[in-house]
Symmetry: C2
Subunit: 416 residues, 2 copies
């Protein structure tokens, strides 16, 4: 395993992970209304055109466009209003030359009409007490098709409306319901087992004695899992004991689609995590070490198509590394190629930041909103403390090939 | 009501709404682990310092810094390793001058030590088969406090750790659990009644006859409500009948904290919605018309501290206007002053776009990611079709005071 001692750049490390997890979780069929945030497992086509009938985009009169040609304020066209199209019903009125019919926004256009004149461009002859039939003046000509949405203009019959691997947003649910699709096939939600390990780690409800710290990584990671659409399964806290860790990891992996171990930070504990992952199955550990700060000693593996991560114990590293590998893996398990863009913003940097080339650095920052965008203001302090992240909006990414960033540079910020 | 016929700019309209809804929903106390995405209802203080003991940030040796002064590769300091600090337990080893103790990352620092030498800067005298006590060479001096996290360095006792009105993210839950806070007081989730109205609107499961369209706004709005932390309550579809709408609105509002009516687009239907809101209670309609496209004929009101919105019937307008008033109102009901920044990105514009000054325009766009940020590529086509939003990542905002935007300009995009 030559990769074992390599420290890979994050993008390459992620590709290596993805090469070994070709598997997408099985699909399940659900009501569209329950699918917000779920990922389609197959392409979806429109069973019929949308709209299914020609609709008016204005309140006004359905007309034959030719009857309005040459109409102007000084020389209006005179039309006879012979009927009204009721909302929600077929437009049964038949227009002869010189006829018009009242139509409301969203109403159906009569078969014999080909345009709509908006009401503001007309005037009733003889005042507002009009009883059908009555005459109107039209002060502007309309073209054929004007103020009309045509059949299929929103989406054509059989059109590919959503690809497979698409994350369903409110408008996507609306688009499906609009063509009468009530159920959709989506990838099952990934079940992600989360194990905290360490002799010093205790359940958060317990009083922390000397040398003890409360488990928080299980819960921050669980929150990240939920945000990516997964179901977190938090296990018991495992002591630094090889047999106990192996037993717990095996059990957790057997009932989950992915395993995350918050693995402690000392070298001996990390080595133990590596060995346990190797014994879980093939291909095992893919790499040990990512060229980032924080989070260099991250372990990335795959066992039977299931991603297995060993994250550093410090909470900031654990969150950054989960964002880097765990979140994309959860989306990938659902069949998505690219995670959504919502956790990522770009901002102007408020001041210079030094860094080390050859490493992707993450610096906590607050975002301040101005007239022409966000400014990222670094929040300095030890980067391994949880309250650094509590007091920040996100982390500025300093790319691998840069020895720092300059004030006013346009930088990527990962929201946390 | 002078505002009635005014068309306000969106920011002013939002302020007017907020002036009339001072009410924050009552709090409830929940397990911290169930509070992702909830909003704190009171400021929270740290019951104790974090960490509670001095911790090592390295694998190495706890030492008295003075014993290493002047140490270098050519002139190492010699120290005697007399014990090991076990993880998760008190550091009971007592160092005399010239002594050191093995300590792991995250381990407790003995009271008699004041620095940690990382293991890579030491060498065991006589090889690796060391049995306590044994001698080491130290090749670099360390300063007092080096490689140690001090008591309270993450957060001090009684420090204000989270303000009221704070949206809880994964790291916030972690920060609370780290100091043993297991329960937190958060604002109740807002219940948002959603009513679709219109003689032409049918339930999405029904076949659409001539002139009929399926209700999709109830479901796109419900998705937006959920994203903002609210609970959507979708009602029956109401025909264009004053008494029926008034009855339904009254019933919906009585069991909800906010009411949204997807009100149809014809003038007569909008007027009916305005009248119904006026009769629901005080202060009633605050404004009718917002200087935006799409979505100008939006109705914004408040009844007994509850926001009431009348949205245009076209689905794109409805979503844009809900994003502009509904989403901020839901956060406001939970006590948040500013909605989170995650739905908002800035991008470079790919081409010129024309607009009309005095109106805030929204243009559908795809985001393309490059080396130094996002590019927003406008998706043209009628902006009132749902598949315009399905095929876009979001909407480019053209500010009120601009008559268009130029290629390469840095623009705000609202993700949808």
């Amino acid at each position: 395993m030559p990769e074992f001692f390599n420290v890979l750049p994050p993008a390459e490390a992620r590709l290596l992970l993805f090469e070994h997890m070709q598997h997408v979780l099985p699909a399940e069929t659900l009501a569209v209304t329950d699918c917000l945030g779920r990922v389609t497992s197959a392409a979806i086509h429109a069973p019929h055109a949308l709209p299914t009938f020609r609709r008016s985009t204005m309140d006004g009169y359905a007309v034959r466009a030719a009857d309005t040609y040459g109409a102007s304020g000084s020389l209006p066209a005179f039309l006879r209003v012979i009927g009204e199209v009721p909302m929600g019903a077929a437009a049964q009125v038949v227009l002869s030359p010189g006829d018009a019919a009242i139509v409301h926004t969203g109403g159906m256009i009569p078969a014999t009409a080909d345009a709509v004149v908006q009401i503001e461009l007309t005037q009733t002859v003889g005042g507002e007490t009009a009883v059908l039939p009555y005459e109107i003046e039209v002060f502007k000509s309309v073209a054929v098709g004007q103020n009309i949405v045509q059949v299929g203009e929103d989406v054509g019959v059989n059109a590919a409306i959503l690809p497979a691997g698409h994350l369903l947003r409110p408008q996507d649910l609306g688009g499906l319901l609009a063509v009468g699709i009530m159920q959709v096939s989506v990838a099952r939600r990934p079940r992600v087992a989360v194990l905290a390990t360490g002799d010093e780690v205790i359940h958060p409800s317990r009083p922390a004695g000397p040398g003890q710290i409360r488990d928080i990584n299980s819960y921050t990671i669980a929150g990240q899992v939920m945000r990516a659409g997964g179901i977190p399964l938090i296990g018991d806290i495992i002591p630094d004991d090889f047999a106990a860790l192996e037993r717990a990891a095996l059990a957790a992996l057997s009932s989950a689609d992915m395993l995350v171990m918050s693995a402690g930070s000392s070298v001996s504990v990390r080595d133990m995590t590596v060995e346990v992952i190797e014994r879980l199955g093939a291909p095992g550990v893919l790499l040990h070490g990512v060229a980032t700060r924080p989070g260099k000693p991250t372990i990335v593996g795959v066992v039977d198509n299931k991603p297995v991560l060993g994250l550093p114990g410090n909470p900031v590293s654990a969150m950054v590394q989960f964002d880097m590998f765990g979140t994309p893996a959860i989306y990938r398990l659902q069949g998505m190629i690219q995670p959504p863009k919502s956790g990522q913003v770009w901002a102007r940097l408020s001041q210079n930041i030094a860094s080390e080339s050859g490493r992707e650095d993450y610096v906590p920052a607050r975002l301040e909103e101005g007239e022409d965008g966000f400014t990222a203001v670094p929040v300095f302090g030890k980067s391994n403390l949880i309250y650094t992240l509590v007091n920040a909006d996100g982390l500025i990414k300093i790319p691998l090939n840069k020895a720092g960033l300059l004030a006013d540079e346009f930088v990527e910020v990962r929201l946390f």
